[in-house]
Symmetry: C2
Subunit: 243 residues, 2 copies
């Protein structure tokens, strides 16, 4: 066969990145790339909830074989980013408002406790990273001027990094993994939920969180985070006792 496995890259919209001389980080497996791309597409909302994720179509789009896409989909299912219906394939999870509430509650249950640990244990390097992450978050525009309808990808990422960095002082990878999982579920649910943002001052809340954390006030930080998460979820609750 051709010694160059160069398949015509179907990505003409990729010029913003500098071309590297050689690609040591490109040693990734195809299934890894496919997984990352599918993950981003789902998180970005490219596919509607409940929409079928057909291996054949995806394989053709990405220029890879069925096995590769299938492995990516299996992984996505494990991460909660896809549903699997036995003998009926994969689909974008159709998340109910109920589910969104459950994820939000789980975050309120877990994250304040982890933040408390983090504030008590974090070292100087952690402090520096908290400052860095907050600075980046504060300086990133929340909404993209042209898009407007949703958060910008850059802000969403800065937001995630800030919240994660706050917790990273705990030094426990298992807890951070739990956070990652909950955050992913939360972001996916939020993207499709009919939530009206209740005119909140997220900027001030984040700044207060940063200050409490760096002041080593674990109780205050945990309380602030609890309220922060509560307000996020409150934007959805129309009729609590409807069940």
């Amino acid at each position: 066969m051709a010694s160059k496995p160069d398949r015509s890259a179907p990505l003409p919209t990729e010029p913003p990145e500098q071309l590297e001389q050689h690609e040591p980080p490109e040693k990734q497996m195809l299934s890894e790339q496919a997984h990352a791309r599918l993950r981003d597409a789902i998180m970005r909302g490219d596919h509607a909830p409940g929409e079928a994720l057909k291996p054949q179509a995806l394989a053709r789009e990405q220029g890879v074989s069925l096995a590769v896409v299938r492995e990516a989909l299996v992984r996505l299912v494990g991460e909660g980013l896809a549903d699997r219906l036995p003998n009926r394939g994969f689909a974008v999870p159709a998340l109910s408002d109920r589910r969104w509430q459950e994820v939000a509650e789980a975050r309120r249950t877990v994250e304040p406790a982890v933040l408390r640990m983090s504030v008590e244990r974090g070292d100087l390097d952690w402090e520096a990273r908290v400052r860095s992450a907050h600075h980046r978050l504060a300086r990133t525009p929340e909404y993209l001027p042209q898009e407007g309808r949703n958060y910008s990808d850059a802000w969403a990422e800065a937001h995630r990094v800030f919240h994660r960095t706050l917790l990273e002082g705990c030094g426990n990878p298992v807890l951070l993994e739990t956070f990652d999982r909950l955050w992913t579920a939360s972001e996916l649910a939020r993207r499709w939920s009919a939530h009206r943002t209740p005119e909140r001052d997220a900027v001030a809340e984040h700044r207060a969180l940063e200050e409490a954390a760096l002041a080593r006030d674990a109780d205050a930080a945990a309380a602030l985070l609890t309220r922060h998460l509560g307000r996020t979820a409150a934007g959805l609750q129309p009729d609590p006792p409807t069940d």
Copy 2:
């Protein structure tokens, strides 16, 4: 093919078994069965930590193709029951004592908070299930007479069900999923850790947990669970500053 799906005698090769409603257990996909079998094998300790899980060997053993075993392995990786080394295959996770501590700490961080919610919210059905689970746990022999070296499978399962049932009153599937994940990691780590059980009265601790939960004493239950989990982890701590 030739089989007529009429109601008279669809399956002449079926021995005179008792009439089952239908056979949904056999409708499983091969990858599902392979996943379950591999999972059990790893949790049972059939493979040593760090041992390579070779798709070819496993496929031959189970009489299925590579794709099936591969899918099972990918899923296991997502559940933390296998490690993946890029281009070097899969392996049983080699868990350090450090990791075991991290999992134990994560449980101490998460589970008491969930138990508190559960005690506050659990309904009558939950109460009944707690009693049932505790009864089963209390009446199941912890060690198998002939085996002796480890917990019996029946006790391990009853133990898991008891702890899970305690938390199920919270009514939040996301939190229960988190528990499941932590429990699995905990059990796997415990199986291979050089832990000496520090002569504890687990039976009494479980009974106290049951009583506090059914008495709706959330604070007491959470405190008991924290100590319960702390004692489990304490059996390992020989040298904290060994790093």
